[in-house]
Subunit: 285 residues, 4 copies
């Protein structure tokens, strides 16, 4: 049961839905999900269509090109096609905090997340056992100011060797270089332990406590060169009060981080996220 997924964005105009859906149908595709959205401020049309390839008459590798020539170009569409083939392979980068790692591994193992996790990368040794007992390769890649470029080369070769298509920064406390992030654009998801843009940067729970906020949050986003500024995929919040010490904020925040990061990984690996002008369209949400 293989499916094709088509993302489109273009200037809004008449006939877009009909043009796309007719082309899919004319080529033997049965649409299973169809969602469109018009951003009224910019008159931009966004669309996601998913159809079964069972009786589709175009070869996988030709779909995107044929669509562009036969439909997209006439409407100035920016079009991208995914063919859903098996479970996405993700690598998890961690430092010393285990809660997001163990959560993702448990979700992958139970089938709650339809992904394979072949690789955990860390700049510390401490989460080796947690990873290996799930049968996941654990690679310790120490990172210092001096060796950073070489460390990233090593990380890249590990990602290649394990056939990874998505990197999840599960409270990884190192900053990836601009080069790495450009190479992995829209394929690195980070969890930030604050309700961005509030408390961007370091020690957000301490600063949230000092400021006396009554709600804290967490934010999952694509990592970009501009730290904590990448397109937001999911956010969550928890209520706090004056009774909560920083340690309580940390604890409550962990529950939010886990859920929000898993939600982002799920949306990405189900091919439901489109990025445009620094913002996400998360179809089906």
């Amino acid at each position: 049961m293989r499916n094709a997924i088509l993302f489109v964005h273009c200037p809004d105009r008449s006939g877009l839905v009909a043009a796309v859906s007719s082309w899919i149908g004319a080529n033997g595709g049965n649409i299973e999900h169809f969602e469109q959205h018009v951003d009224e401020e910019t008159s931009t049309f966004f669309m996601r269509a998913e159809w079964s390839l069972e009786a589709f008459r175009i070869a996988d590798e030709d779909i995107e090109d044929r669509f562009r020539r036969e439909v997209g170009d006439a409407f100035a569409m920016n079009a991208r096609v995914h063919v859903d083939g098996g479970r996405p392979r993700i690598a998890i980068f961690v430092s010393t905090l285990s809660h997001c790692l163990t959560d993702l591994l448990a979700r992958a193992e139970s089938g709650e997340l339809a992904v394979d996790v072949p690789l955990v990368v860390s700049n510390h040794e401490s989460l080796r056992e947690v990873s290996e007992r799930h049968g996941v390769a654990f690679e310790h890649v120490p990172v210092t100011a001096e060796n950073k470029a070489r460390a990233e080369e090593h990380q890249q070769s590990l990602l290649d060797a394990h056939g990874v298509e998505l990197v999840v920064l599960a409270r990884y406390m190192q900053i990836l270089s601009a080069d790495f992030l450009v190479a992995w654009q829209e394929r690195v998801i980070n969890i930030h332990h604050s309700f961005l843009p509030a408390f961007a940067g370091a020690r957000p729970y301490h600063r949230a406590h000092a400021r006396g906020v009554k709600i804290i949050g967490a934010t999952s986003h694509y990592a970009t060169e501009d730290l904590d500024e990448g397109p937001i995929i999911a956010q969550g919040v928890a209520t706090v009060s004056h009774r909560d010490a920083v340690s309580d904020l940390v604890r409550k925040g962990r529950d939010v981080e886990r859920v929000v990061l898993a939600e982002a990984v799920r949306a990405h690996t189900e091919r439901r996220v489109l990025v445009h002008h620094g913002r996400t369209v998360v179809f089906g949400s």
Copy 2:
């Protein structure tokens, strides 16, 4: 800027999106919103399309019939067309509690809800001033076990006289007859002060307190003959604790009731609600 809105539900099959969108486009309609949803348990296709009538070549009164003959019947579609004409006119039924009434009147007055409220009906006199100072006609229709049928006739004639198309029960403490509700099917919205189906029936806040729940809620739904069983349009919740007395539940619940009722009225009057097998599809939510 008049729009047509088409609701469809039918057995799911290939070609539905293309068939509908092509027909709209071929007749000069520019689709502004298009949303489809397939219920996988029952393989039922649900759809809502909204398009501008500016250049549409079919007269308003013919759209539904033409669509059925030219598209719908071939796919066994259940199809319904609304032509959006001006602000819906709603009547608010109340007893003695003012919070939902004042909230709806304020939203209508400020334009937050795009509706007209020509009429308030109550089985008590106490909210006359609140209504009249908004320039809304207030009609006192006492209801007793004996006069119920006559009271409903009177209510019906008031609704007719004011050209009302939607009745909102804003904590109206009388039960409408099955006859009335059948005549006004899917056109009477009630707010129940509990998180249905929990605490259906009377005094839900007292029972929630006695049971020691940690979250309370409110539910807006279409009123049906089966009390508190109608299709749910919107629900909301609030956190409570052992510190909250029944009076605190009542107070916190009011904030939920106001928001949830307004949300339901907005969804209905924006023609975004489709009812099927006792459940709602609320498009655009």
Copy 3:
């Protein structure tokens, strides 16, 4: 049924609860509410005690002084006593947006908020009718860069004339001077239409939309000289998605603003808020 309310904060040490509660009891007070909290980071003790004055043997005006001499000074307590006398009188400052104003007036009228609202002040004329039909005096005080000092003198004299003890800025779009705010310290509550500290300053909904956040919020806080930096009393949030235009954020935000502002006014007027180092302790929450 008059009550006394005692707020205490001081360095934490042994015997504080016993010292306070014994003194109240020894003077004939029956404690109805007692709440303490220790901030572990700074070892600061916070306390609120409320007791019935029915059989209390100290005259109202002497309570604070007697408590300090007999208990507080020995423990280096910062102590403050309120004697609850009737309904607090509040003034509402507005500009042109009505939603918080109508909400507060409705809550006061229905008794949901136990306050009197004798006065609405605005730098525009547009909300006169809304105010006056509730029997509330409406005073139009235009504010310009030139007349600001005189305008504030006028506002101050209006507050004096109406015996106001709390000013609520219900989307009032003028900045009050440092002098005014110092004179009214911890007696001016503002509602900011963002989840502070995110999007402090102007046009928060536009900026939240541009940033692509998935949750928006509102914040009620004591107004201080440092704009949008005052102690936070209450916050609330609402979920948004890519489907929401700026106008949807504005609409959803209004529901949060109303509830959050009313919650702050209630907490303040029930004498449950203590401010310490720019943060609030909101007892009973």
Copy 4:
């Protein structure tokens, strides 16, 4: 740093706070947490005091008795004392679903929950590996209608052998006997996958979907003979829509279940829960 925790409930009257806090202080205790609450409907006083035993002059085993004789009896107090000694030992009962089990094991391992988990009991074999790789003993105790009494004897002996003081039913699909539950009164915590009292009983997510609710939830409660009727400790909710199939409700519900169950275990093991008339007082929440 050992602490004593005292729970009190009794008819409300004057002098209770002073009596308790003075007694603690007079015996050398330094109160670290003190919380009282009066249920106004029944005029019942609830209290929790926690103090350091460092300089306390009464032996652990005498505290409760001495308090009763010297303070409690004079006020008709129902009093109970815990002396906090090390990490509580809990057993987790499961069937085949892993998500609550893996979550609790990860929290215990990371220190997020200050408990020891020496034992997992299951009526199936499938979660053996998950348990054993955390170094936790896994005991397979099959349960049938015929062997139920013997199975419970076996379970009891396992609990004894491992020094367990709290049993957590982490989606355990067997009903424990009244005898077992009476013996373990207020020491068995269950997670029910609905927002009780809605959808008590079996298959709540299916029934929630059929009813078309817009919010689902989960409930942790002490297990009692009356199925799904035990005192509620914590509840949580998640928003759903018509787009969510039953499988989506199950998935979203799991996130709520995990958090709500962990919250209840934490509240119980921190000695913050008092049960009275079928309801809980959860201090510090």
